[in-house]
Symmetry: C3
């Protein structure tokens, strides 16, 4: 879990993913020699801060978003959200501006709900603040800010160790309306002919999806994937013996939104571990669901 801890503490809110891109690129360069198969690494300005790892002759692409939720300093002591963070008075926020490092506390106006910060000085306009990482591990769980989606990134990187054929796509802006998957989808479809996707991201513990019962395969969220693709995935998962759960929601979304609306015929499915305390500094995931997620991706990438 050291890799996951490292991933969770890098500040990379939507629009400023570059520090995490650099970390992932470095990680790949340091570790790829021990992987069973070597990927082509695609990273250049025409992919902005995204990154592709292309293994063998790919049939399926795994999308894992790099960015996280957070806050932007507006005027005076106002904050506006990056993505949809929970906002509870007392959360510790960190950042950096022209005057140096910042470690402050979130405040919430009880009447208006307006967000602010407690800090001895004013912070520069436009500064990004993210949750301070307090990484907690037990025998059965991990807890931290940003398991959504550093765990999805972790899953993708661990998957690389054994992957023979497939594409890993690290995307940007997922938490704040999207903005990179449209061009990644076009690039991948046009260059590699791939139009099957798995979304390596984190979902919610709910009345129907429970911690510890395995990775969730989402049959739908706010969008509805193509039924025939979902049915193939369900059949492979069922035959594999890997524990998993079926999720059905009417809301929520992921990088799949951009695939669904892309000018290419993408089939997609969200496959990810569920977490509790979503979008807080205390996101909590059961280790059995992490193991199940990685195992499921390994079998799906072989058989899809």
């Amino acid at each position: 879990m050291q890799l996951l801890h490292n991933l969770c503490r890098i500040a990379a809110p939507s629009g400023n993913e570059a520090p995490l891109t650099t970390f992932v690129l470095d990680y790949v360069r340091q570790h790829q020699a021990s992987w069973q198969h070597q990927p082509r690494v695609v990273a250049h300005e025409n992919l902005q801060d995204c990154l592709l790892l292309v293994f063998g002759e790919p049939r399926t692409a795994v999308f894992a978003h790099l960015d996280s939720i957070g806050f932007t300093v507006r005027y005076g002591r106002q904050l506006v959200r990056i993505g949809g963070p929970q906002a509870e008075a007392g959360y510790r926020l960190v950042g950096k501006d022209s005057q140096g490092e910042i470690d402050c506390t979130l405040t919430v106006d009880e009447e208006t709900g307006e967000l602010s910060y407690a800090f001895p000085r004013e912070i520069d306009r436009g500064t990004e603040l993210t949750f301070r990482c307090d990484f907690r591990e037990t025998e059965t769980t991990v807890q931290s800010c940003y398991l959504d989606n550093r765990l999805g990134v972790w899953n993708a990187l661990r998957l690389c160790e054994t992957l023979e054929h497939g594409i890993i796509a690290f995307s940007c802006w997922e938490e704040h309306g999207g903005g990179s998957v449209a061009y990644l989808a076009k690039h991948i479809y046009e260059i590699y002919g791939v139009r099957q996707a798995l979304i390596s991201d984190i979902t919610w513990v709910t009345e129907g999806v429970h911690a510890g019962q395995g990775c969730a395969i989402s049959l739908r969220d706010s969008l509805i994937p193509r039924r025939s693709y979902i049915n193939r995935i369900r059949a492979i998962a069922a035959a594999s013996g890997v524990p998993h759960q079926l999720e059905v929601e009417g809301s929520g979304g992921s990088d799949a939104k951009e695939l669904q609306h892309a000018a290419a015929p993408w089939d997609w499915c969200f496959v990810g571990a569920p977490e509790d305390h979503v979008h807080t500094p205390n996101e909590l995931v059961d280790k059995r669901d992490i193991a199940s997620m990685l195992a499921l991706y390994q079998v799906l990438m072989r058989e899809l």
Copy 2:
């Protein structure tokens, strides 16, 4: 109206259009010999469950969406919507799961509005339910679930009987946020150079659009089409003598949403009969408006 009846009773909610695609493909194969001109049939995995019929040297494409609204079984006895169906207690819903055929009744919690079903057993998670088809025909009207948009599909298929130049595009996911017209639009523009569209879909009877007074030409809905294209269509319609009405709305949408936002310069116009009891099992259309719709498409496809 036997064709329309057949179309209305096929379950094909958004994301699972394949049964209707198969039906339409079979219909085309069985009937195209009697058509005045033979189309090229384009159907392959890179169009997912969509279908193109290309006649002659096309200048204009007709979009008719295959999918319908419905419900997905969530956890326990909960239902979530596919698209925007009206939900009234007592509507009969049909489907199929691992235990067999389902014919159940919609229930609505009076306080929370939560949707459920009455059935002797629990239905599998993720099962799709659609309105049971009760097709009613009088001398002057047809009434059924899913006239939106099986009547638009019917119009497109009847148009094929005489069409010389043009493309018929059967699309998916229209009722649930879209997801196929972006790539159909790209394919059609790049391969055939076509960028004029008519949306063969069903609209609403309102204070300004009345049953029996002819097919509606929409001057705008939530989106605003290019005025110069609309003006050409209005001029052709006026000169044709075919009865029609002009619609102006501030809400609502269609496959045109994806054309409007496509990375190609599509001109589009919604042209369709109005219905009453929208998105219920009792959608009602006047036969004069059906006749007007087909006649208008015939002249527009010749003269645009």
Copy 3:
């Protein structure tokens, strides 16, 4: 300011930009001989009513939307909005229908908020109405309807006088959900390899952005641009000595929405003067902010 006055009084609501396109084309033809460098003018049906001016070897594109907000006549005396105009009883609206010129008055139902008009006769269904232009200039300010975005268009045209390398893109539908920037972005990226954008549009005077203190550089609005691009722009602006302000908002949008979601890796930044009385007939801008805007675009187009 005669050019700005001329621009403000041309009716060109979203979807019917053609009259302004014609005006701009004529203006370019009449004035380009006096410009330091000659652009290629790109205007054809495959760009609908948009227009591109391509100077030298472009690295950056300036987007200025041609369209304005307004109203469409619905049924009887009802009006529906084009874009998001403020609606205050007594605003004068102008237009034209089959019976001739219209100069009427906006009315607002106090209880329902429904919009209507006072005029001796009924106006044709589907007629577009726009604010009547009352252009007011003082030594320090200009005031009129439609400074948003005729001032952005004015800025782009004045920029042409000295521009050596760059693209000016005049877009459509910005006020009403977009619809042209997707294909402009694709065209520009594929033909010219350009993926840097500046949005020449007008923003709001707020508690953090004040009239007279210079053009605003937006660090974010409802969307978040790529931080590394924004940082480059801030550095160039700071070194230039041109007065400017930094804006941070959680809402609002521009042509950049379509760039952000395009299937190409666009970097973008909104750079524009702030106005008061947004989306009314009385939009007010300080002349110092207009001067700052043009000066800032000149330096940014040289150095980006």
